[in-house]
């Protein structure tokens, strides 16, 4: 197995008295695509947000790219090369597509940022055509592409995609899958969470199944698909 990029050991996430994630171990290798499958409320977003530092890690340890990040701030993790396309996409609604993508490159120098934006517009002609449109006016599928492109500007080492297919039309699911393939081709590692696991399983090589905050199973996609099918996730 390739070198580990993200290592999570014994992660617990709590909201007041609610235990949303319980002693979870998880690993993502450099350049690898991993899926987290689980029903609504299983704790997928809590894991994603804990990796980004948007919710605190109550217990456990997290290392990224050889550094301990457990209590590191969100902005510092971003600087290290983690980016998220969050649940609900959360594009900057009053910014244009281009401004959203520029915002994603905030930590870069002006030259690198411009080069990155040019590359993204080359790669996603759907966005290029509408670059001056306000992101808030776009369809769900277009917003998902903006959220992914925004997360890519700074060329992260790890991309977190929290339910990227949720609520999308079949065509938009195809566009989003294609966008994720581009990310994989760049050698970036991807962690995707999904209830509706079918499109994500096509992209991933390994997966974890969460149930009520605890790890139910981990393994290669074939095993995950089998379990997910038998337990009605698909």
């Amino acid at each position: 197995m390739a070198e580990s990029l993200l290592t999570i050991e014994g992660l617990c996430v709590r909201y007041g008295g609610i235990e949303a994630v319980r002693s979870l171990d998880m690993e993502v290798a450099t350049g690898e695509t991993v899926v987290i499958v689980g029903a609504n409320g299983a704790g997928k977003s809590s894991v994603m947000n804990a990796v980004m530092g948007m919710v605190p890690t109550a217990e456990g340890r997290m290392t990224f790219d050889g550094r301990e990040v457990t209590s590191m701030s969100t902005a510092d993790r971003a600087k290290l090369g983690i980016r998220i396309s969050p649940e609900g996409r959360r594009v900057f609604a009053n910014l244009t597509i281009e401004e959203n993508i520029l915002a994603g490159g905030y930590t870069m120098g002006a030259k690198d940022r411009e080069a990155s934006v040019a590359w993204l517009f080359d790669t996603f002609p759907l966005l290029s055509k509408r670059r001056t449109a306000r992101a808030g006016t776009l369809s769900g599928g277009q917003q998902q592409l903006v959220a992914i492109a925004r997360a890519l500007t700074a060329r992260p080492k790890l991309l977190l995609l929290d339910e990227p297919f949720l609520g999308l039309s079949p065509v938009a699911i195809g566009d989003t899958s294609a966008a994720i393939s581009v990310v994989q081709a760049q050698g970036m590692a991807v962690l995707i969470s999904e209830q509706m696991a079918r499109p994500a399983l096509k992209l991933a090589s390994r997966g974890y199944v969460l149930r009520a905050g605890a790890l139910r199973r981990s393994g290669d996609v074939a095993e995950i698909r089998e379990l997910a099918l038998s337990e009605d996730y698909l």
Binding site: M52, M54, T74, A75, A78, K79, R83, I84, P86, R90, F92, A93, N94, L95, E99, N100, L102, A103, G104, Y106, T107, A110, R113, R150, A154
Partner: protein
């Protein structure tokens, strides 16, 4: 005709004053989500800094204006970084902090300069004359500088990477942070720009209007109404509404009588807000802004 032109210029001067104040107030509110009750105090401090440099130190008025802008921006920066930032997400706390700062600012000016209105001399004094129309240089300067300052803020917000970051923070703070933006760096800066605008306003207009420790409250209240009228969170709305408010105030003052201006203005604003609760250009209401 002469009276009409003079009233228009007077209204635009008032409008420029309200617009500069409303712009700073809206910036702080939009980006930090802080209702800055001390905004009027920064106006007063700006006025007194300019007065001190010009009338007590004896340097040129231009320097007074520059010191006022830099001074109020610096105070705003420090105040945000060391006071507001500690409780930035607690709206009640920031209200108390800015109200307290407002009282401290007024009281400090009272102690330093006395309760009497300051006799601000040394601002621009000349007058343009066309036929029977008299237009003081100072008014033209106020309108021009306000226009330039508004354009500069626009360029900063829409044409620079920092401005892009500030607008991203306004839209979704948590996501902006997840892109590596640091509120602890950007918020004091945004607040300094906001308070610097208040200081600029005070330095520009108090030689024309009046300068006393608590004159900022009234200006802030009218600017705040203009902000609401323009649609909370909409910067163009705030500027347009401010100019309208200034013109209405001036025209009512000239053609109906000065004492009628506040009554007509506030009634008009109330009626407009009942008809259009989200303001002229607002796309959101006060509650969910």
């Amino acid at each position: 005709m002469g009276e009409f032109i003079q009233t228009t210029i007077g209204g635009l001067t008032l409008g420029a004053q309200y617009a500069l104040m409303a712009l700073g107030f809206s910036l702080a509110f939009g980006i930090l989500r802080v209702i800055n009750f001390a905004h009027g105090a920064f106006y007063v401090v700006g006025g007194y800094l300019a007065y001190w440099i010009t009338n007590e130190v004896g340097l040129p008025y231009v320097l007074g204006v520059i010191v006022a802008v830099l001074g109020t921006a610096a105070i705003g920066y420090v105040f945000e970084l060391f006071v507001i930032e500690r409780r930035i997400d607690d709206h009640l706390a920031t209200i108390v902090m800015t109200l307290g700062a407002s009282l401290i600012g007024g009281a400090a000016m009272l102690s330093l300069f006395g309760a009497q209105a300051a006799q601000f001399e040394g601002g621009l004094t000349g007058t343009f004359r066309f036929g029977g129309v008299f237009v003081p240089h100072a008014r033209v300067m106020i309108i021009a500088v306000a226009g330039l300052a508004i354009a500069a803020v626009y360029l900063l917000l829409y044409k620079t990477q920092v401005g892009n970051a500030l607008r991203a923070l306004t839209d979704d703070r948590e996501m902006a942070v997840a892109m590596g933006m640091r509120p602890k760096v950007l918020f004091p800066m945004a607040f300094a720009i906001a308070t610097g605008l208040a200081g600029l306003t005070g330095a520009l207009v108090t030689p024309q209007f009046s300068l006393a420790p608590f004159v900022g409250e009234h200006v802030l209240m009218i600017s705040f109404l203009a902000v609401i009228l323009g649609g909370l969170g909409s910067l163009p709305g705030a500027v347009i509404a401010s100019v309208l408010v200034g013109l209405v105030e001036a025209f009512v003052g000239t053609y109906v009588g000065g004492s009628w201006a506040p009554l007509i203005l506030f009634t008009g604003i109330l009626v407009l807000l009942v008809a259009r609760p989200s303001g002229l250009l607002g796309h959101r209401t006060i509650i969910d802004a």
